[in-house]
Amino acid sequence: MTALTTAPVAAPPPAAPRRRRVPAWARALIVVAVGVVILSITATLTGQYQLTSRGTTQAAVLLLLPILFAGLGGLWSERAGVINIGLEGMMILGTWGAAWAGYQWGPWAAVLGGVVFGALGGLLHAIATVTFNVNHIVSGVAITLLGMGVTKYLSTLLFEPISQNPRQSPRVEAFDTFSVQPVADGLASIESQQRVLLSDVAGLLGGLLSGLTPLVIIGFALVPISYLVLWRTRFGLRLRSCGENPVAAESLGVKVATYKYIGVVASGALAGLGGAALTLNPGQLGYLEGQTGGRGYIGLAAMIFGNWRPGGLLAGSALFGYVDGVQLRAGGEAVHGLLYGATILAVGLAVLWVARRRWRAALVAAVVGAVVYVVYYSIDTVPREFAAYAPQLVTLLVLAVASQRLRPPAADGVEYRRGEGD
């Protein structure tokens, strides 16, 4: 008998040919372009021109800014391996700090004040989670409680004597707004010509280029900056390694605790910046108790939505800000119009998946499209009670569809003690 007999099995099936990869930036552009086209069609067919107006974009920018900052905060912390559900608390600290510094020394001081106060919250989170190994969610919840308490207490102490109101700061001077001229005016004139697609693009773009403040610029700039710092520098490599495999990082001489501290404090600073953005928001006098309204949590959701990446979280906060802007400006009718857009999207996806022979996915998309269309057809407007929470609903739906493709840092939230690795 021979020692070894090869069994008569068919050769293992060849691996499926890999599709050519489209670079990430190109995919992002395609997604944006598709989105604009769908919105343009929807606006034209439903008459909901607010969907693509300059004002909506501006509102979206205004609304997304605090969320974007909070999301970036989440990114820095979670890439270093620390879950930060305390973003809300750090943001509250930021609003207070910004108002306190801002009413005395002007808007730039407000920015600094927000950053410093947020960073203090971050520092506390870092001490608890990194030094004392407290569960990250636990510490985050506690910091949010503390943030609310401390700001209320301090407001009673420091703001009330001046503003006569324990819940509000004195008036904080905001930044002046500016537009990119003459592009903004040019786009405005195209928008008013009401050409299909062209006007829609002009409207969406025009909103991005007018009514700007330095904070908007900082916010948008921080997205590529975060990418470059975290993915293209040695500092970023080390910081991310703490989120992927801190034991390995430590074994290579990376000072894991230090990097985690940096990540979490930066996270707090960014959340604080989000707070400052709220305080300095055109339309705001300054600090107002409860003005964050859960935006810190939504920033966290935007980051998860964006797959723990700067570009993705920008998309997440933009989606949130856009839907919120649409529902606030144009109410239930416009949200109703978005249902129509969702139908187009679903049908488009179904067609795409049929072409790729992914039958199940295509079927699901088609069914979803049909259901959404039936809803669209059977009501005239989305009741205000639901339209008001359309952003949350959309976030939930998108996560339900896409979350399985998400990839959090491998050691995110894992308690880590120095020297206890194997």
Partner: protein
């Protein structure tokens, strides 16, 4: 043979003197002395928990000794962190991979050493050079998660070399490699030794130790008990130094195979992630009562998935699993366990134990629906007294070294944890035992104990499906061997005649002349 030599300091690349390290309840290292000459491969031997890894972590600066000194090239040094050790030219390849899966090969290598050549072109060129030295053929841009174990091992070695280490610690580097890969690794080591590198080498496979080492230090229960000359010492003698007992052998004596079919797997298939090729395809096998069926294969070829699919932890896309005539294809993991399958998972810490729970709570895992630990009923009441009692039985029968059954599982050393798992899985009269790497990383004493228990159960008529990377174990224990490659069973081997080398060849797909088409 067990003599310590007194020599002048300058002769040694590394010298550890009087190292003591205490952990709560355990003295991991107790006055250890170790001298390593420059340009040699120095092996460290010792049973599980003897303190080898701890000693090496101290040398690498990951842990600080409570007492004792470290000298490098004759100078006394103090390492506060791995960076200090790296600066002193020491590198370490850990017992468990220290790689970030979601990072590229290059990122993993550069991490922490960005200061040397930056993270740009110069660094990439250096990595390419080193990759050629150790035979890594993957592009540095590839994510580590796509790499097989051998390549991961190479990345680990490149990591060390990239930092300019002259003294390299290898903690059980061969545990996951097939013989051919071990040979390749040893070739690399020999070449590098000729270039002046010094190696500290840890392995439980004593033949390997004798094949590669220039000198051997044996550690027992935290103290260095002596050194040995690999040229003259036998594996048996080494083992006796380590544990004071005889070297066990996995030989099975007479066949107990019956013709009563216990497990039949037909056309089992497991789909890969969308678009990828199936992980398992067309698996057919039969295990009879009293038979040990061994599955050989290079890690990552579907053995893990096969076992987990049979256990119902993964959902098969096609095929049948039949146990004693009963079709279990649609059954849940618990139903399969209740039907009489015992399961020793390959990774006891991930799949076998609840680390912070007591031993008796761990006894209930997988048995939570059955007596003696469960009284059943609508609420599924647990019987904690019985669970404790039965755990005490396992502790006694399997010689689990523990102060009691109330300690958390994490407090046990690896070998003792493994004995507990084996004991648990053999409780409740299983008809089939699926054992994945049942003695991986377990020292010779515990190994012997586990083999003995497997043999005894087999004699009682238990059917065993054995997956192991240790080919000696596989050949020694199995009645039949099947070779797995890329998700399919590609060859059968007769354990009576097959050699580890020819088996290894079949496992890597490099069929040699011995293979004859059926």
């Amino acid at each position: 043979m067990a003599t310590s030599m007194a020599t002048s300091a300058a002769e040694y690349a590394v010298e550890l003197a009087g190292i003591t390290k205490r952990f709560p309840g355990v003295v991991a290292n107790d006055d250890i002395h170790l001298q390593v000459r420059r340009g040699e491969v120095h092996a460290l031997c010792g049973e599980n928990g003897a303190g080898k890894s701890t000693l090496m972590k101290i040398l690498y600066g990951m842990q600080q000794p409570d007492e004792g000194t470290i000298s490098v090239d004759g100078r006394i040094v103090r390492f506060r962190s791995p960076s200090d050790a790296i600066k002193a030219g020491i590198g370490m390849v850990h017992q468990h991979f220290m790689l970030a899966d979601n990072f590229t090969v290059a990122e993993n290598i550069l991490l922490g050493a960005e200061g040397l050549l930056g993270i740009g072109g110069a660094a990439r060129r250096r990595i390419a050079e080193l990759a050629a030295t150790v035979g890594l053929e993957v592009a540095p841009r590839v994510l580590v998660e796509r790499l097989g174990v051998a390549d991961r091992q190479r990345v680990e070695i490149i990591k060390v070399l990239y930092r300019g280490a002259r003294t390299v610690i290898l903690d059980e580097p061969t545990a996951v490699l097939v013989p051919q890969e071990v040979d390749e690794l040893f070739d690399t080591l020999r070449t590098m030794r000729a270039d002046g590198f010094t190696f500290l080498f840890i392995s439980h496979k004593l033949d390997e130790v004798r094949a590669i080492a220039d000198s051997i230090t044996v550690i027992r229960r935290g103290t260095s008990v002596g050194t040995a000359d690999p040229a003259s010492v036998t594996s048996r003698q080494l083992a006796e130094m380590m544990v004071g007992s005889e070297l066990p052998s996995p030989e099975t004596r007479d066949s107990t195979v019956t013709d009563r079919e216990v497990l039949r797997v037909e056309g089992l298939e497991l789909a890969g992630e969308s678009g990828a090729r199936p992980v398992l395809a067309g698996i057919d096998l039969v295990v009879h009562a009293g038979e040990v069926l061994g599955i050989a294969g290079v890690e990552g070829n579907g053995q893990t998935e096969l076992v987990e699919t049979i256990m119902g932890m993964r959902r098969a896309s096609a095929g049948r699993v039949v146990l004693g005539g009963r079709d279990l294809s649609q059954a849940s993991t618990l139903e399969r366990r209740e039907a009489g399958i015992g399961y020793v998972p390959e990774d006891r810490t991930r799949h076998g134990l609840l680390a912070t729970q007591s031993l008796w709570a761990n006894r209930m895992l997988g048995h939570q629906s059955r007596p003696p630990v469960s009284r059943g009923g609508f609420l599924g009441l647990l019987d904690r007294v019985a669970a404790r009692r039965d755990t005490e039985r396992i502790v006694a029968e399997f010689d689990v070294r523990t102060p009691g059954v109330d300690v958390p599982a994490a407090a046990l050393s690896g070998g003792n944890q493994q004995k507990l798992v084996v004991g648990r899985e053999l409780s409740g009269d299983p008809v089939l035992l699926i054992a994945s790497h049942p003695t991986r990383g377990v020292d010779v004493g515990a190994q012997a104990r586990i083999w003995e228990e497997l043999r005894r159960a087999r004699a009682r008529g238990l059917a065993v499906l054995l997956v192991s990377a240790d080919l000696d174990e596989l050949i020694g224990l199995s009645d039949t061997i099947k070779v797995m490659l890329r998700g399919t069973l590609v060859a059968d081997a007769d354990p009576a005649t097959v050699t580890p080398e020819s088996l290894g060849a079949a496992m890597t797909g490099a069929d040699d002349s011995e293979a004859v088409p059926a």
